[in-house]
Each structure stands twice: as structure tokens, then as C-alpha cells.
Symmetry: C2
Subunit: 160 residues, 2 copies
């Protein structure tokens, strides 16, 4: 495992942008999703809480959407840096936001197994990255997402 | 305001299906979204918690996805019942689950105003409903969703 494999991109968001409920290291009540490289893909894992259900025994769709969304933004940041010749940890990670999110729920996601998210990015430009994400439980893909990520607009940075 | 206007469809899900993190009345830590008729549309409101942010001052996309998802399922249930000649409260509400979810984040959603969700349903069959949802903050639409809802498969009911 290379050093970069072990670093999570969310740990390199600037402090002012590290409060996201889904992935901010400075949001103590949030989900704290961590996105890491694994070769040409990114990976994140998450263990849902027993309260995170749709019906008893199955994870609710909103959590899956949250995981896909934040892992996609992390993947966009990591891929954008890699495309510019930088690795995670070389400096502050760029903050992307979601322009659109499409999720196909292929089958019910069981509550119990740790979920694995895998991301693949296509860097369209310095400002736009398309990310495909799969969610798996016990080796079975249960949901698939396609996310369009764009660099955070100045209007959002200005209001913090 | 008619009686039906005041009834929330989630209050008529059978107890066994009322534990959803997004909209279950029996999930004390969840969001407890309530979907009501307002003429030909459905409406729900939600006040995000200060922790529900993407960056300071703005609501995170995963919460918006969760609200759209559960309001769409509630809308599908209400519209399915109305298409069958029944009103909310006439009996147990049918439980739909999400087949696919598409969200366009049109602009940042500010933290502060109560969010209003409005849904419109197209009942394709007894098992499938297409729902369009808008999310507004202080009268401005910030996100738009299209959701495909299907009746909950027996495989999910069987595992509870």
C-alpha cells in the first residue's frame, strides 16, 4: 500500500470547508466519509447505524445518496489533483460541489455489512468532473450513481 | 383547509414500515418528514439542523436528496391511493421504494429558511409512480428531483 493509498482527500480540505455533514472531519455529528485512492479507482467504506433504515433490515436511500454524493466530491477532488500532477496530501484539496446526482437503486441494501463505495472519475476540465460510483454490500452492488461535480463557486465561499 | 389536507401519509404507513430514517414516525432519531396534499400537489416542510451543512451557510446535498426521496415516496403512496379512489387516512398507506433518483442542484440551498418541498405525481400503474419534486428556500427553487417509485417488493417485507 503506497502512502497515497492511505491518505483521505477529506483530511486535506481547508478547515473552512471541512464541516460537511457527509464528509467533514470537523463535523462531529456527521458521517465522516473518507475517500482514498486504490489504483485508478477511489474507495470509501461506511458502516450504517441501526437507525439508518428504510424498513427494518435495509438501509434507507437517503443515506446511500449521501454516501455517493460525498464520495463523488472526494473522488472529483482527488482526480482533479492527479490530473494536475499532484497527489493527495501535496496541498489543500480542492472543494467540489454537486451539480447533479443520478442514482439507480438496483436492489435493497441490507443493513449489517460494511458498505464499500468505489469511484471512477472522468476529469472533463479543471472545473468539472464526472464521477461514477458503485455501492456494494458483502460483494454485491446494490446501487449505482453518476454525479456531476463542479468546483465550488465563489458565491458559496463568500458566505461562510 | 380540508381534513385530508391536514393528514400526513407517513402517519398511515403500517407500524412495521414506519421506521424509515427519513420519514418514519417510529424512528425517533430520524428526520420525520411529513407529506400532505395541497390540491393537486403534495407539500412537506423541513428545517435543517445547523449540522446539516455542506460548507458553512449551506445545506448539504445528501440531506436534500433524503428529503426529496422520502417526500417522493410519500407522494407516490398518496397519489396511488387517490388514483384508487381513496384518501389519506382511509386505511393503511402503501409503501413505495425508490427505483431511481435524479437531482439537479440548481443553486446553493441556504441554511436558515424552512425548506418547502412540492411534489407532483404521475401514476404509471398500481406498482409504479413517477414523482417530480422541487425544493425551495425562501421562495426560491434550489433543487429539482425526478424519482421513480415502485411498490415495495415482497423480498423486503419478508426480511423484517
Amino acid at each position: 500500500m503506497s502512502t497515497e493509498r492511505s491518505l483521505a482527500v477529506q483530511d486535506y480540505y481547508p478547515d473552512d470547508f471541512a464541516h460537511c455533514y457527509g464528509c467533514g472531519r470537523l463535523n462531529p455529528t456527521g458521517l465522516q466519509i473518507k475517500t482514498r485512492w486504490d489504483g485508478g479507482e477511489t474507495v470509501a467504506t461506511f458502516s450504517p447505524d441501526p437507525s439508518h433504515i428504510a424498513v427494518p433490515g435495509f438501509v434507507y436511500g437517503g443515506l446511500i445518496a449521501s454516501l455517493i454524493d460525498c464520495h463523488a466530491m472526494g473522488t472529483a477532488a482527488a482526480a482533479s489533483e492527479r490530473a494536475a500532477g499532484r497527489a493527495i496530501g501535496d496541498g489543500p484539496a480542492p472543494r467540489f460541489v454537486t451539480a447533479s446526482l443520478r442514482i439507480d437503486y438496483l436492489r435493497p441494501t441490507p443493513l449489517g455489512p460494511t458498505l464499500e463505495l468505489r469511484g471512477r472519475a472522468e476529469v472533463a476540465s479543471a472545473r468539472k468532473v464526472i464521477v461514477d460510483v458503485t455501492v456494494s454490500a458483502a460483494g454485491v452492488v446494490t446501487a449505482r450513481g453518476q454525479v456531476v461535480a463542479v468546483r465550488m463557486p465563489q458565491t458559496m465561499a463568500a458566505q461562510r
